[in-house]
């Protein structure tokens, strides 16, 4: 596995920072009522999408979840297109029909976030099957949470991927909370990676550390690319906020939230970069400012983007 260059580390850090700031901005505009419906932010989990997707090209496929903003941003969607879709505007990649919970962008291999827990896992298998069938070297990455591993689709899909030797990496972001329920209530194991053993799929559990995730994901993705079948990577991640934005988290002890926030993958990586003089304070500040400007501009772009006409409602029922 090639070692990460300084440039790659700085880029990865900037992408993690971009996801965090995007989520914070979304919470702000959501609270103002500019975006209707539900949004689910991934603050605390930014390391995983960036570390995994940095090994992928635009032609590799990705399936993800309702908590999917980070995945889409890491897979390469522009801030403007992302925000336009979340605002439900006609120029979003899904014409605004998908919004936060179903965002897709096939130009970047983003098959579509899924509102059904576990719903994206078999779909990811299908993309991996298509790549194998067409004898390309495309890899599919499938993100889901630990809650989804209680679904039948998870087990059916891991077995199918194993039997069919599909070029796929299953990435479980275990943030400890399946909506409002802690892991200890809905399963008796600690490591999701144990579940892969039933399907003869190699698996690894790593912490919420960018470099650790990057290294493990790189090995699994390369294995899939070489035609050596599926793997499962579990990241023991942390969810800082509620299931959805506005969730008061009455089911959660304040200490649990505090302890989750102590594991800040971005602050830790930033510290690593500064201490090892990979990035200067000044360069760091510049990156942060640029990203904050980019996000402001994206929000403004979305606000100015066309609102769909009601006549678009019945378009495209059939091809």
């Amino acid at each position: 596995m090639p070692k990460l260059s300084k440039k790659e580390m700085i880029w990865s850090y900037s992408q993690m920072f971009r996801i965090r700031k995007m989520e914070e901005k979304l919470m702000e505009v959501f609270a103002k009522g500019e975006i209707p419906g539900f949004i689910h932010v991934c603050i605390g989990q930014e390391a995983t999408p960036v570390a995994v997707c940095s090994h992928l090209t635009d032609s590799d496929y990705m399936a993800n979840t309702h908590r999917g903003h980070g995945h889409a941003l890491a897979k390469g969607i522009t801030s403007e297109m992302f925000m336009a879709e979340l605002f439900g505007r006609s120029n979003g990649p899904c014409r605004g029909r998908a919004g936060s919970m179903h965002l897709a962008d096939m130009n970047l291999g983003i098959l579509g976030a899924n509102g059904i827990v576990g719903g994206g896992i078999p779909i990811a298998n299908g993309a991996a099957f298509a790549a194998k069938y067409n004898k390309t070297d495309q890899v599919t990455v499938c993100f889901f949470g630990e809650g989804a591993t209680d679904e039948g689709t998870f087990h059916e899909s891991l077995n199918l991927a194993s039997v069919m030797n599909l070029p796929i990496v299953f990435v479980c972001e275990n943030n400890g909370w399946a909506e409002f329920t802690p892991q200890s209530v809905h399963m008796t194991i600690k490591d999701i990676s144990q579940r892969a053993a039933s399907y003869n799929i190699p698996a690894k559990t790593v912490s919420n550390d960018f470099l650790e995730i990057h290294d493990a994901a790189g090995k699994f993705i390369e294995k899939a690319r070489q035609g050596n079948g599926p793997s499962l990577l579990e990241v023991q991640s942390s969810r800082w906020h509620g299931h959805f934005v506005g969730d008061p988290q009455k089911y959660r002890e304040p200490e649990d939230i505090e302890s989750a926030m102590k594991r800040d993958c971005i602050a830790e990586f930033e510290k690593f970069l500064l201490e090892n003089k990979i990035i200067s304070k000044k360069a760091n500040q510049n990156i942060q400012e640029e990203i904050e400007q980019e996000i402001e501009a994206a929000v403004e772009f979305a606000r100015q983007s066309p609102v769909p006409d009601a006549s678009e409602l019945i378009e495209e029922l059939w091809v």
Binding site: Y61, A63, P93, G119, P122, I123, F129, A130, Y133, V163
Partner: protein
């Protein structure tokens, strides 16, 4: 022309489309070397290999979801769900994913998927292997639903379905699998969304689906001996359905009977009856009469008492004529 059985029509359609288009793959339980539980893929595995004729674990949700992903990435999967009753264990894939993906994602990709599945009774297979659930799928925007009744229609509409860029549920009736009929030697398709008038008549329009088309044709023979001339429309497509052909027929006969094997409550007959009442009630000279199964599960022992038959169609026709203005 040549004579084949219904199940042979299914196989020929898959075979010919697989030969023509390498993007077409067949996925299902026992579809490979065993040739399918009802023989619909007999010999296909030998010709196309396990890359294109894929035997899967018993994982309907996994299979249907996989078809969705494969279709999104350019393949054209045909999925066999061995019994229509098993559609229940892959409803998320069909209803929340496949039916919505193209619309929801702003037409970034299509969902050219065929799910073919045998429904209906006749094998004494009991409550979990005998249902007609087509109305569920007709209730979902984004799915096309067809249920051909003859070898000619099944071959032609299955070919059309495989070529269609929309997801199509093809419902066969197990009791029809052995039915013989003539088909042309050359390539042909039966258009989705078009009904077929299987027998013209002037007194009563009978709109029938699948096996009930044959029961209605038998009823037509009996009724003609009594001087009653019914028109039998084979709906073939449930969604979208051919309103024009049905409405034109009613304008001629002024009487409507609808016959399907599914339970009468909330069946496709309810939709047709409601549409007729909304659009052309003034064309009717008598109440609409529906023929359908009673509102109970399909029992193992009393299946023949359960299944709607020729006599039920005859009674329905007479009932509407008795109420005629």
């Amino acid at each position: 022309m040549k004579e084949i059985r219904y199940i042979q029509g299914v196989k020929e359609a898959i075979h010919e489309e697989m030969e023509k288009d390498k993007r077409v793959v067949l996925i299902g339980e026992d579809v490979g070397k065993p040739g399918g539980a009802f023989g619909a893929s007999n010999g296909l595995w030998k010709q196309f290999g396990s890359e294109r004729v894929i035997d899967t674990p018993i994982s309907e949700a996994g299979i249907v979801g996989m078809a969705a992903g494969a279709a999104a990435c350019g393949l054209r999967p045909i999925v066999e769900i061995m019994f229509m009753d098993f559609m229940t264990v892959c409803m998320d894939g069909i209803v929340n994913q496949i039916a919505k993906m193209r619309y929801m994602f702003g037409s970034q990709y299509s969902m050219p998927i065929v799910i073919r599945t045998p429904g209906g009774g006749g094998l004494n297979a009991g409550p979990q292997h005998s249902q007609c659930l087509e109305a569920w799928f007709a209730h979902i925007p984004g799915l096309k639903v067809v249920m051909p009744s003859t070898p000619y229609d099944v071959k032609g509409i299955l070919k059309a379905s495989i070529r269609d860029d929309n997801p199509v549920i093809v419902v066969e009736n197990k009791a029809l699998h052995a039915l013989k009929g003539e088909i042309p030697e050359e390539d042909y398709v039966v258009e989705i969304g078009k009904a077929d008038i299987k027998k013209t008549g002037s007194d009563v329009t009978v709109v029938a689906t699948s096996r009930m088309v044959h029961e209605s044709l038998k009823a037509a023979t009996t009724l003609s001996e009594e001087g009653i001339d019914i028109e039998v429309i084979d709906l073939i497509s449930i969604s979208p359905w051919d309103r024009e052909t049905v409405f034109n027929s009613i304008a001629k006969t002024n009487h409507l009977v609808i016959a399907h094997e599914a339970v009468k409550q909330c069946g496709i007959g309810a939709e047709i009856a409601a549409s007729v009442a909304e659009e052309i009630l003034d064309e009717l000279d008598a109440p609409i009469v529906r023929v359908g199964a009673p509102f109970v599960p399909v029992p193992f022992n009393l299946e023949q008492a359960y299944l709607p038959n020729t006599q039920d169609v005859i009674s329905a026709v007479k009932k509407t004529l008795e109420r005629s203005l």
